[in-house]
Structure formats: C-alpha cells, structure tokens
C-alpha cells in the first residue's frame, strides 16, 4: 500500500516539475529553428555544371526529374581544331510532389551540378505548382551551405 501511494505521488511530482520548467515549443512562424546544414530540404541545380548526361533522371526511384537538352556547336579551342559540341539544358524540372528526398540524384551526378539545401519553406497551395523548373532550382543555389568540417578520424574531406 505504501509503495502504491509513493508511486502515485512520484507521478504527480514529475508532472509538477515539468510544469515549472520552461516549455520546449518553438513558436513557428514567430521563431524559427535552423535545420542542420546537411538537412535534405530541397535540391538546387547549378546549371553551368550540367552536361545533360541524364544520370540523375535515370537513377531517381520515382522518375521525378524531367530533362530535355540540345547540342550546340562551340568554336574550337585552338586554331585548326574541331568544333566542340556542348550539351545545354532546355528543361530541368523536378516534381517535388513525387520526390522522395532520397538524394540519389545528388550523389550520382558526376559533375556536381546538384546540391542539397536545408531550405524547407517552399510549400504551395496546389500540387501542380510543386513542379519546379531550372530557374527556381538555380535560385535555391544561394541557400546551399558550405561543406562542413568532419569529425576527427574521418579520412575523406567533407562533401555534401
């Protein structure tokens, strides 16, 4: 009987103590918490690096990346050389309604054209508006953080 009464009273004590401590709520939108630099918020595109190799579109589990490109001729670098052909992006859309935020596209890109950004406040009122084109993806490049230093013992330098 005594143990039971003690059990009841300790329970009351826990709730009372928690009431006295400050609450842990962050009052969004008045206050904001910054997510971790590695947080997978949104994918940003660096258009200069993209060579339209289509690796990202192929490796996406949901096939949510839509790419169209065309080839252009550039003048040769040296005198008497062949003109170089360069692939340029026409369309690079990511459908964020399908995107699983897995990061496979960012990982497989051999030219470092895709980056993760912790930006998360891009919700829309209609699902169709979640298809973002390369201009919007390029705008998000500004929110991409610098690669951060790693813990001691790590061999590889920080990469995204």
């Amino acid at each position: 009987m005594k143990r039971e009464i003690k059990g009841m009273l300790t329970g009351l004590g826990v709730t009372f103590k928690t009431m006295m401590k400050p609450a842990v709520t962050v009052q969004y939108p008045h206050e904001r918490e910054a997510p971790a630099p590695r947080a997978r918020g949104v994918i940003a595109l660096k258009e200069e690096n993209c060579t339209v190799c289509m690796l990202c579109a192929r490796s996406c589990p949901d096939w949510c990346i839509y790419i169209e490109g065309h080839k252009e001729q550039r003048p040769p670098r040296r005198e008497g050389g062949r003109p170089r052909s360069v692939s340029l992006l026409d369309r690079f859309d990511i459908d964020y309604a399908l995107c699983m935020y897995c990061g496979i596209c960012v990982e497989v890109c051999p030219f470092d054209a895709l980056f993760w950004s912790p930006e998360f406040e891009y919700s829309e009122t209609r699902i169709a508006q979640l298809l973002h084109d390369k201009h919007k993806l390029g705008e998000w490049m500004e929110t991409v953080p610098e690669p951060e230093p790693l813990e001691q013992g790590a061999e590889v330098k920080g990469k995204k």
Binding site: G11, L12, V14, T15, F16, T18, M19, A23, V24, Q27
Partner: protein, 346 residues
C-alpha cells in the same frame, strides 16, 4: 439595501446570472487548466496566438466554431431523445450553481429556511448533480452507435457507483457542522476556532481530511475525468457517448463537463475550505470579497483535480467499480462512524 423589485424581475435577473456564470466559469476553468496547465505539464505552450496574449481567446473561438457547425443527426437516431440529452446534462450543472453561495447574501436560492425544507442545500446539490446520468444514458442510446452505447453503459455504471462515496463523504461534514445548509456550514467554519485561536476559523478539511480525499476521488469519477474516464476513453471509444454529437450540442456537453467541474470544486471549497468566508471579514465587505475568495479556493481545488487528471492512466471498468464498492464506501462509512463518535464524545 432594500430596493423593492418584484419576484418576477428577481427571477429574471437570477436566471440571467446563472446562465451567464456557468459558461463563463467553464471557460475560465477550461482555459487555465485544460489549455495552459496541461500544456506546461507536457513541456509545451498551449495556444499562444488567438487573442494575442497567450491565446486567451482560444476557447471563445472554439465555442463560436461549434455554434456555426451543421447540426448533424445520425440516420437511425432517436431524434427527440438525441436532442434532449445534452440539455439534461447541462441542466444538472445549472441547478447545482443555483445553491452555491458566493457571499453571505449572494446566492441564487437559499433553501435555508423555507419551512418544509429547512436548510437542505447540501442534499439538494448532491441530488441534482446526479441528473446528468440520465442525460448520458439518453445520449448513448439515441446515437444508434455501438461505441456510444458502450460508453454510455460504462458511464452510467460508473456514475451511479460513485454517487455513494460522494454523498457519504459529505455526511461527515454535515455531522460535524450540525446542519445541511451550505450557509450554515460556511458560518460554522468561519466562526469556529482551532484550539482557541480563530485566525483562520475552522476549515473542515483539517478534521475531515478523509472526507476531502473521498470527495475529490468521487468528484473525479463523477466528472468522468482520468483516472476514471473509461466512458470517454479517448483511445478506445474516441468520445464515448458523445461521439455522434457535433456543433452546439457538443458545446453543451463541453460546458456541462467543465461547469460541473467548477461546481464540484465549488462544493468542495464550500464544504471543506470555508467557501466565500474569510474569518475576520463580515457584512457588506464579505459580500464584495466573497466571490473572489470563493474563486481562489475553487481554483486551488480544481488545480488538484486537473493535476491528477493529466498524470494518471485510466482504470479499467471493473477495477473502477472495485475501488468504489470495496474501498471508498467502507472508508466513507468508517469516517462517518468516527466522526459521529468524536462529535458525541466531545
């Protein structure tokens, strides 16, 4: 003050006061304890935006929201019974408020010296608070929903079982004070003295602590609050007997719940803590100060009730009944016996 107003006007004024006070107290209790105290006990803030200052407008907004909802009734529901049930539950709340005094002359009905019913405030309050059982059963049956029926049956069994400890707990107070009238009990506490010192009067909680504990436990069960909230077990039956109710009918249930919480807390404050009285204040000053003192005491008692509500898990129905019949009632009878013996001896 002897202004001559006819009985009709008096009745109208009193009706308006009771009709206004009950939702107001329900609101205050709901906001302070349900929204704010519960939130801080759970490490969060509760509503902060509505009204700008710590969300004081939240419940009013909720009430308005309920009022503008569509009035839905299930297809096979018993229409009249379905509509009447919340009214009966709220009716019992209003009727209890009628008899709680907030000052030496501030009360809606005195029931003190009327000849036939000479001083029956306590009796009336306890009797009338049991009316809600009928309303609950009506709600559960008329909803034509198995979950609601289960909840209503559980509720009826629980409420009836805990009536007895509630009443028996109060009998000790009545024996010691010598009267069933609420004003009489309050003046007994106000004019009493502890070993000759009348500084704080003689709050009956000091000798009737067993009765106080019993009353609090039984009141918790009467309000179907955790740990006795099987009828409204949120994670099983969702809302129990209230599950089919929406709109202003649900608002009635809500007001009934918190209004009754205030009523029981007020009864406990009156019977055990001295109600509106502070020992050295009499007369018109008591009339002015009385409601505030009562309010403060009610908040204290309600704090205890809600503190237990947010901490404990709920009992199973059979364990609940076992506690009432096997523990609370024998303890209450023992308390009465002891009080009677001591009263006669001293």
């Amino acid at each position: 003050m002897a202004i001559d107003i006819g009985w009709g006007t008096t009745l109208a004024i009193k009706t308006v006061i009771v009709l206004g006070i009950v939702p107001l107290t329900a609101l205050i209790l709901g906001y302070t304890f349900l929204l704010k105290m519960m939130s801080h006990m759970q490490s969060r803030l509760g509503p902060m935006d509505p009204g700008g200052f710590h969300g004081w407008y939240q419940l009013i907004g909720d009430g308005l929201k309920f009022l503008q909802k569509e009035d839905i009734m299930p297809d096979h529901a018993d229409r009249r019974v379905f509509a009447l049930a919340p009214a009966i539950v709220v009716l019992s709340t209003f009727l209890v408020f009628v008899v709680i005094p907030a000052g030496p002359r501030i009360r809606v009905a005195s029931l003190d010296s009327r000849g036939l019913f000479d001083g029956v405030g306590v009796f009336y309050a306890l009797a009338v608070s049991s009316l809600s059982v009928v309303g609950v059963l009506m709600a559960g049956w008329a909803s034509s929903n198995k979950y609601a029926l289960l909840g209503a049956l559980r509720a009826a069994a629980q409420l009836i079982a805990y009536e007895l400890p509630l009443v028996l707990a109060v009998v000790g107070v009545v024996i010691q004070a010598g009267t069933m009238s609420l004003q009489g009990i309050i003046s007994f506490q106000q004019h009493g003295s502890l070993f000759g010192w009348s500084g704080i009067g003689f709050p009956l909680i000091l000798t009737q602590f067993v009765g106080f504990a019993l009353f609090m436990v039984a009141a918790q069960a009467e309000l179907t609050q955790p740990p006795f909230d099987m009828p409204v077990a949120e994670s099983e039956l969702v809302a129990g007997y209230m599950v089919e109710y929406t709109g202003f009918r649900f608002l009635f249930f809500f007001i009934g719940e918190f209004g009754t919480a205030f009523a029981f807390a007020a009864l406990a404050a009156t019977l055990f803590l001295g109600g509106w009285s502070v020992p050295w204040v009499h007369g018109t000053a008591a009339d002015v100060l009385g409601p505030f003192v009562l309010f403060a005491k009610v908040m204290l008692v309600a704090f205890l009730m809600f503190w237990a509500r947010f901490t404990y898990p709920r009992f199973r129905e059979d364990q609940l009944q076992a506690i009432a019949w096997k523990w609370l009632i024998p303890i209450a009878l023992g308390n009465i016996l002891l009080t009677g013996l001591l009263k006669v001896a001293f």
